[in-house]
Point group: C2
Chain length 344, copies 2
DNA sequence: CGATGTACCGGAAACGTTTACGAGTCAACC
DNA sequence: GGTTGACTCGTAAACGTTTCCGGTACATCG
């Protein structure tokens, strides 16, 4: 492997000069800089990351921790795929690399993160699937690792986050359903302490209150954020003495299982039960009925995440003078056929 | 941040001794080793990865490159999530960390990989979504980076790979459909040069030949591996002069779009058209009709990938004396309702 | 008692890079 | 012509770790 030393003796200059030339330092003759650059590409020189990291205490890599938690919003891979894309677009122009750190199912997320942080393998972190109380935030704060959370938590402390508008979506879904004539509306939320469940439930309650409907705890269905969970939701709905006419789902893929269960009961989703999903996924408009859900540009979300993270990194903050970002990301309702029903 | 130096002066021993104690070298007194270990955990010492990497030329990290290619087998849903889990299980007991490297949509996979390799950020690589001709294999071979491919390619060269049994599944699907009375069977494959498409098509042809059915190029439908692509498949099927009675899909989520299109035509999937999907995904048994598809333990696949990779790494090969692995991973057919139809 | 061996440990070099410092050259200026 | 400053560049230290080499202490053996 070719290092800076080979480059230096190949050009008959010192390694210091080579380094300065490559790093765009001003105190190097423009002509020699060109010679160095030419030789570097010719010989295929790429700086050894370990040496550089050791010297300047920075790795030029940024970690994105993803959970194996079934209840995290974008459990499906292509949620994060879109977000990564936006993040990488930002990082690309700062010579930063994105490395994704998936926490294994059999490992505690906190333990995993502290291992990764201690190894100093990344300069900063993006964490997702935040919990109601998330010790990872304290960990990163005390370790003084710049980070941003995709998702809020109730942990007090000054930390940057961007979160989808779970609250707003739940409450506006209620508005919409009430307009369509529904009064008895159920909601499906996770049973774990993942924070988005609380946000969604809060929004649900706010929506009910705004429309003068009393909150009924019996209409809150705890289920896994999966197709299986959706099936379970259908089961619970059908078993209710006074069946709700509508349900709001916290995770779009639940609709598949829910549709199935409703169909099995001889009923038709969208007609006998109005359904609003959370995020518009690729399959939303190919289900029957098509799913009413909310659109979000994952790439834009990723861009915002990346830029907001850089804003809190000393080395890049000057380019992004936006301070500590705390932002609720808006989503746009895309009407489908699943909630077109008006009760009797 | 606490380094080995602090540890040494805190214990009044040399840094060499501390290092030897921590790394389990034999030439250190057992009592001092215990003292060192105790102090290390007490002070929360974790070796700086950059320093270690620089010295011994190894990063203890292994990269898993994933494409943003829509046609790669498990593009959406949690295909990779399961595989990661198995890989991490193997790596965990060798103090290796898995880092996932997602190639952005706007970057060429080859360029991306060479950047990652040159930065020496990982010791070995797992690549996926192999193409018919995949230059990445040559790149890794000449760079002498240990690697394994999840997926084959036609590139000659001695390299380890594990691939799902695309060929076998396609051909056995034909067997099954023929047994059910079908003779006119279509197939959906990607239009890109991703290798699994070729394998699947080969299997399709082999299955037809084995059952004495002439291959009709008009029954090969090129479509994106997505719900949208599945809808397109349905469209193409319905437009055919002599409509096939069955179709084999290379990607399970296509079923959702296909179902929709068939329903729109007033027909019923599973009755008017037999459908066999590729992999059994979480939603397979919640679709209506449930999807006949093939089961694979993603975790086991990940374990095999991890172990086979270690087998080709000099530092770990002795523990996994299995040589260069080339393995077609078997999958088991799980009958659903989507192919129960027997023609008129 | 000298020689040999063993167990343990300290010293120092090395990995590849960045960067502070100083030194050299040369033109401009008083 | 000496002084000053700007422009380049070489030298060397430093980052944190591993590991080779040698050295001490002590026991064993002939």
């Amino acid at each position: 492997m070719i290092g800076i030393k080979h480059l230096a003796e190949h050009l008959n200059v010192s390694i210091g000069t080579v380094s300065r030339a490559l790093n765009g330092r001003p105190d190097v003759n423009e002509e020699t800089r060109q010679r160095v650059l030419a030789a570097a590409t010719e010989l295929g020189y790429v700086a050894n990351q370990s040496g550089r990291s050791l010297r300047q205490g920075t790795t030029n890599a940024i970690g994105f921790m993803i959970d194996s938690d079934e209840d995290s919003a974008g459990n499906s891979d292509n949620f994060f795929r879109g977000v990564f894309d936006g993040v990488q677009w930002v990082f690309g122009r700062h010579n930063l690399d994105l490395v994704v750190l998936p926490c294994a199912t059999d490992e505690d997320p906190y333990q995993y993160l502290s291992r990764m942080v201690a190894r100093r393998i990344v300069d900063a972190m993006i964490i997702s699937a935040t919990h109601r109380k998330d010790r990872r935030i304290d960990l990163l704060n005390t370790a003084r690792i710049p980070f941003i959370a995709l998702g809020r938590s109730s942990t007090t402390g000054n930390y940057p986050w961007i979160d989808l508008d779970f609250e707003g979506i739940a409450s506006r879904s209620i508005d919409r359903l009430v307009t369509q004539g529904h009064r008895r509306i159920a909601v499906a939320v996770p049973s774990t302490d993942i924070n988005l469940g609380f946000m969604f439930l809060d929004g649900y309650k706010a929506g009910l209150a705004r429309n003068g409907i009393a909150f009924d705890p019996g209409l809150v269905i705890r289920a896994k954020s999966s197709e299986q969970g959706g099936y379970q939701v259908g089961h619970d709905l059908l078993a209710m003495p006074e069946r709700p006419t509508a349900v709001v789902l916290i995770y779009e893929l639940m609709a598949i299982g829910l549709y199935r269960r409703i169909n099995e009961a001889g009923l038709t989703p969208g007609r006998d039960l109005a359904i609003i999903g959370f995020r518009e996924a690729p399959q939303s408009r190919f289900l029957s009925p098509t799913l009413t859900a909310h659109r979000v540009s994952l790439r834009d979300l990723g861009v915002a995440l990346g830029e907001s993270l850089l804003a809190s990194m000393p080395a890049h903050a000057e380019a992004y003078p936006q301070g500590i970002v705390r932002k609720i990301w808006p989503m746009e309702l895309i009407p489908g056929e699943s909630d077109a029903a008006v009760v009797k």
